[in-house]
């Protein structure tokens, strides 16, 4: 009896109906909330919150710089968690009678890892851009070997490598497991990089005003709330795109499954012809 890995795909997709637009009631609502939140954030960050005494208006960059690195880290932690699930689900002992179901759950977590990593890379890139813009105004140069920015660059390159590994065509199970191992190694590497770079930079920190972008100085009042609010907005936006990206990955697999059905039909014709 042939069990295609994803039972009764066309029917499932049909019933879902919405998959064509990868939208659904949930994502519609989330989308509206995201847009509203962004509107309010722009208002808050650009006008209502005060300019900083020292940095002037450039402090407003902090409201997008800090949340984007937080969301990026969130994405990578989610990727690591999903990868651990993938490895657990596809361990050789997991075959047995649950072969099909284990495989389906593993692929589901693999999609989560893929979507979360892509978002993580996007927001890491934004962190770098806003960080260097802030640096241009504060330090006078686009790039300064500041511990935080250096760690972010390494993070960015590491996960670019992860996305490159995911894109390589390979047997889906092996690809999922391979990407999962890489994601876990990358997450173990994060603290190592962070600590070594911090230690390297703090030893050599010149005496100059070392205002880190979104630095550790305790900020209070509207700034604090604006920052918190911006972080919430970024998370909602990231979630919204993430769900859509997850569903697109699912659609890509449905497309592959559809071609699988034709292959199955061909195989049966081969057999009939072969006799």
């Amino acid at each position: 009896m042939i069990e295609t890995p994803e039972p009764d795909l066309r029917q499932q997709a049909q019933r879902a109906g919405s998959l064509t637009m990868t939208g659904s009631v949930a994502t519609r609502v989330l989308g509206v909330v995201a847009i509203a939140a962004v509107g309010v954030m722009a208002l808050l960050a650009l006008w209502i919150s005060p300019a900083d005494a020292v940095q002037g208006d450039s402090v407003r960059l902090m409201y997008i710089h800090v949340p984007s690195i937080w969301v990026a880290y969130g994405g990578f932690v989610l990727t690591a968690f999903a990868s651990a699930r993938v490895l657990w689900r596809t361990r050789s002992g997991a075959g047995g009678t649950y072969g099909v179901i284990a495989d389906r759950h593993a692929r589901r977590w693999d999609r989560v890892a893929g979507a979360a990593a892509e978002l993580g890379v996007l927001f890491t890139a934004l962190t770098l851009v806003t960080g260097s813009l802030w640096g241009r105004v504060t330090w006078g140069t686009y790039w300064q070997w500041d511990a935080r920015l250096t760690t972010t660059v390494l993070l960015f390159v590491t996960y670019l490598g992860y996305l490159a590994l995911r894109r390589l065509p390979a047997e889906s199970r092996a690809r999922a497991r391979r990407s999962a191992v890489m994601a876990l190694i990358a997450v173990v590497n994060l603290p190592i990089v962070h600590y070594s770079v911090d230690w390297w930079r703090t030893l050599h920190q010149e005496a100059s005003l070392n205002l880190e972008p979104g630095g550790d100085r305790n900020i209070t009042g509207e700034m604090y709330w604006t920052l918190l609010y911006s972080w919430a907005t970024f998370t909602v936006v990231a979630l919204w795109i993430g769900i859509h990206r997850y569903r697109v990955l699912r659609l890509e697999e449905l497309a592959e499954e559809a071609s699988l059905e034709e292959l199955l039909a061909q195989r049966r014709d081969e057999q009939a012809a072969g006799r």
């Binding site: 009896m1 042939i2 069990e3 890995p5 050789s92 002992g93 075959g95 047995g96 072969g99 099909v100 390979a170 047997e171 889906s172 199970r173 592959e256 499954e257 071609s259 699988l260 292959l263 199955l264 195989r267 049966r268 014709d269 081969e270 057999q271 009939a272 072969g274 006799r275």
Partner: protein, 226 residues
């Protein structure tokens, strides 16, 4: 004795392509089975699946008593697989390769000596780097490794391809010896009508599935209902 291979409804997916789409096959210990069928019928995948190298699903998938769905790795030491490309290290010399194979399979010096003598790999040939050997010689080294490993289940993928008649007979004799020594042999070939292998049970494979038992084609012609 037990069944060396017991497959029921086995499915193996190679990146979503159903290389094995519901295989039902049973091979007893000490039997010699010849897998036949057109290219792309899944012969190679079936052999690799029996060797525990491919994740499989289905109602029953047991080789040498090991359930392939759960303990795929534990069947591997008892199995010998010879694919199209013989698993040899081009930079190693012939004797290095044989010694490495013996150590991995915990074989002693006598087995190595016997294999060297049987496949005429002794003397100066021993010091030659495998990369510089001809295709036939490399095949002999791979078969020597297989003999040293003494697997209970021999899995060979088109071993006769490219061999001259004397080598073919030597190969058939080797397989026959293996069976008399109690091993089970399964080999794939797409050549039709190999007289020397009449003793083997023929299994037709096409479209990723095993044909219902097509008896060895007698002279009476196509009376059998496929």
């Amino acid at each position: 004795m037990g069944a060396a291979v017991a497959f029921e409804g086995v499915v193996a997916l190679l990146d979503r392509f159903p290389a094995l789409a519901g295989v039902d096959l049973s091979v007893q210990d000490g039997e010699m089975v010849c897998l036949r069928g057109p290219n792309g019928a899944g012969k190679s995948t079936l052999l690799r699946a029996c060797a525990g190298l491919v994740p499989v699903r289905g109602e029953r998938a047991e080789v040498l008593g090991f359930d392939l769905r759960a303990q795929r790795r534990s069947v591997r030491p008892h199995v010998g697989l010879l694919g199209h490309r013989s698993p040899l290290y081009g930079d190693l010399r012939v004797d290095d390769q044989l010694r490495h194979c013996a150590d991995v399979h915990r074989a002693g010096a006598p087995e190595v000596a016997a294999a060297i003598e049987r496949f005429a790999l002794g003397g100066r040939l021993g010091e030659v780097a495998i990369r510089r050997l001809s295709e036939g010689q490399q095949r002999r080294v791979a078969l020597a490794c297989l003999t040293i490993a003494r697997p209970r289940l021999w899995l060979l993928d088109e071993p006769h391809a490219g061999l001259d008649t004397s080598s073919r007979d030597a190969l058939d004799e080797l397989l026959a010896d293996a069976v008399t020594a109690g091993a089970t042999v399964m080999f794939a070939t797409h050549e039709t009508g190999r007289s020397g292998i009449a003793a083997a049970r023929h299994v037709m494979l096409s479209g990723g599935r095993v044909e219902p038992a097509a008896p060895v084609p007698q002279t009476t012609g196509p009376t059998d209902v496929a």
